[in-house]
């Protein structure tokens, strides 16, 4: 099913914050890979829940409790439908980081000396550090995919190094890089993992918000993503897992509502997903996330993906006009997400970000929680622009103008001053 192209001007009217000004300038928000903006329907859904249905879930037996539980579990159903999963396969966490820590802790509980865990140099710190910790606890060895010069997983080198082998128990890689934008060849990696009996954990933080996702096709055993990059609230993330795998995994956090029977001598645990949701969950945030996935689905994820591919290709073209830009990642828009990271002359990304901000252009300057990736390319940090369904070509033009002004401000190019 193919949706109609999205009408970006209509989209923009749904996002109240996009009418903000930064000083005298209209906001150009190119930091959606960091966090996305929220449409009014999401803001309203969360507020409406607090206004009319607020109660704790599962344990409150009164009318409001039943309404809150129905809203929370209804949101689980919406999120499940959004990724082609069953509701009981959707675990709510506080963010993608917690989802990955859950995976590393619970799936990692089966690791031992001699086992290997494979990640990649392209990972966000949240898909490196939890696995380092799991390896420290278990005595397993952490290995990783290197990257090609254009920032894609180096599959040839991995094959030469026998990276995925019978000792590999877990492979944890990103779907779409939050720095280079490179899309990982998940089908190929999934086949390699399956062939040696390893589990595939996918960090979908930059994938699920931007492209159609069907967990049956993705090839992952566990998939982590976060609400706030998906036009939803902060404070809620998701771990999807195959039912039989979740059933076999031990709990992560202990506490209320994740148990079956508690005795002082020991406890038995609830079935998934509640086994992994100790304590009061992010209820209103789940409701907001449910509204967000409905909102995105109404435009159509395929249409959103096409819009972003258009913006990304346009941005790559326009950035190529500036000889001072050194791209960190593929220049070819194929198999690429919307994050575009680059260096500008020898200017520090903080300085670039600061001048862009004075023109109302919001980008991220730093290592984007991917220090090993930057070191791989002999860079300490980079400037990153990232788009979403509300990004326009006009905003990319504003970015280019502001980058030229930055070059003039720091006298890389002759200009004013």
């Amino acid at each position: 099913m193919t949706s109609d192209p999205i009408d970006v001007e209509r989209v923009r009217r749904d996002f109240p914050i996009l009418s903000r000004r930064i000083g005298p300038a209209e906001l150009v928000y190119l930091d959606s890979a960091n966090t996305a903006h929220k449409p009014a329907v999401v803001i309203e859904a969360e507020a409406q829940h607090y206004r009319c249905h607020n109660a704790n879930v599962a344990r409150a037996m009164h009318t409001l409790g039943a309404e809150a539980t129905a809203a929370f579990e209804g949101a689980r159903g919406r999120v499940a439908a959004f990724v082609g999963a069953r509701p009981e396969e959707i675990v709510f966490t506080k963010n993608a980081t917690e989802a990955l820590n859950l995976a590393a802790h619970s799936l990692g509980a089966g690791l031992g000396p001699g086992d290997q865990v494979v990640v990649s140099l392209a990972e966000h710190h949240s898909n490196i550090v939890p696995w380092q910790m799991a390896c420290q606890r278990s005595g397993a060895e952490l290995r990783w995919f290197d990257l090609t010069e254009e920032g894609r997983l180096d599959l040839e080198r991995a094959a030469a190094e026998d990276l995925i082998n019978p000792r590999t128990k877990i492979v944890a890689v990103t779907w779409v890089s939050n720095v280079t934008g490179a899309v990982s060849p998940l089908a190929q990696i999934a086949a390699q993992a399956r062939a040696v009996g390893a589990r595939l954990v996918v960090d979908g933080s930059q994938g699920v918000p931007h492209r159609p996702c069907d967990v049956a096709e993705l090839g992952a055993d566990l998939l982590a993503f976060t609400g706030h990059k998906l036009a939803g609230p902060t404070g809620i993330g998701v771990l999807w897992g195959r039912s039989e795998l979740l059933e076999a995994m031990p709990p992560f956090l202990g506490g209320g509502e994740m148990i079956e029977v508690v005795r002082m001598e020991g406890s038995t645990y609830a079935r998934p997903p509640h086994r992994f949701e100790a304590g009061t969950p992010p209820i209103a945030q789940a409701v907001g996330l449910g509204a967000a996935v409905e909102y995105l689905s109404a435009w159509g994820m395929d249409a959103i993906a096409r819009h972003e591919a258009d913006i990304t290709a346009y941005a790559l073209d326009r950035l190529a006009e500036l000889p001072e830009v050194r791209l960190l990642g593929p220049a070819d828009p194929a198999d690429r997400g919307g994050a575009i990271a680059f260096g500008l002359a020898d200017l520090h990304p903080h300085d670039v970000m600061q001048v862009l901000d004075s023109y109302g252009v919001a980008v991220r300057g730093g290592h984007h929680c991917a220090r090993p990736l930057h070191r791989r390319f002999q860079m300490g940090a980079s400037v990153r622009v990232s788009s979403y369904l509300y990004t326009t070509r006009g905003e990319i033009d504003r970015l280019i103008e502001a980058l030229i002004a930055t070059l003039e401000f720091f006298r890389v190019r002759p200009g004013r001053k």
Partner: protein, 149 residues
Amino acid sequence: MGLESLYQEIILDHYRAKHHAGLRQPYSVEVTHVNPSCGDELVLRLALAGDRVEDLSYLAEGCSISQASTSVMSDLVIGRRLDEAVGLHDGFQAMLEGQGRVELDEEVYGDAVAFSGVAQFPARVKCAMLGWAAFRDAVWRASPGGTDD
């Protein structure tokens, strides 16, 4: 708050031509400091002669604010008595954290006065403090009871 108040000419001058940059021998203590949010790194060496700063050398990777601030600091502390130099650190930090309410004495601070604009950009205070914090740490490690590891 305009860009020019942040990036004053003096700052850009120091950024383009850093004073006392590079790592030198001999030294009493070496420290490495990072700004975890941006990955900036600074290796700083302090050479002491009695209660004086004999030399301060550094290898730095970072933004114009952090580079220029480290350069200005090196001018201020080299040759100075240690307790005076630490006092300058404290005053500079108080100014940066003062949100514009704390002014530096230009007679004492010289070029460092140019960083007053940074106090209006809270996200950049850490940049301006990177070199100074490394210096303060080096002094602490070099002092009796400090650990030099």
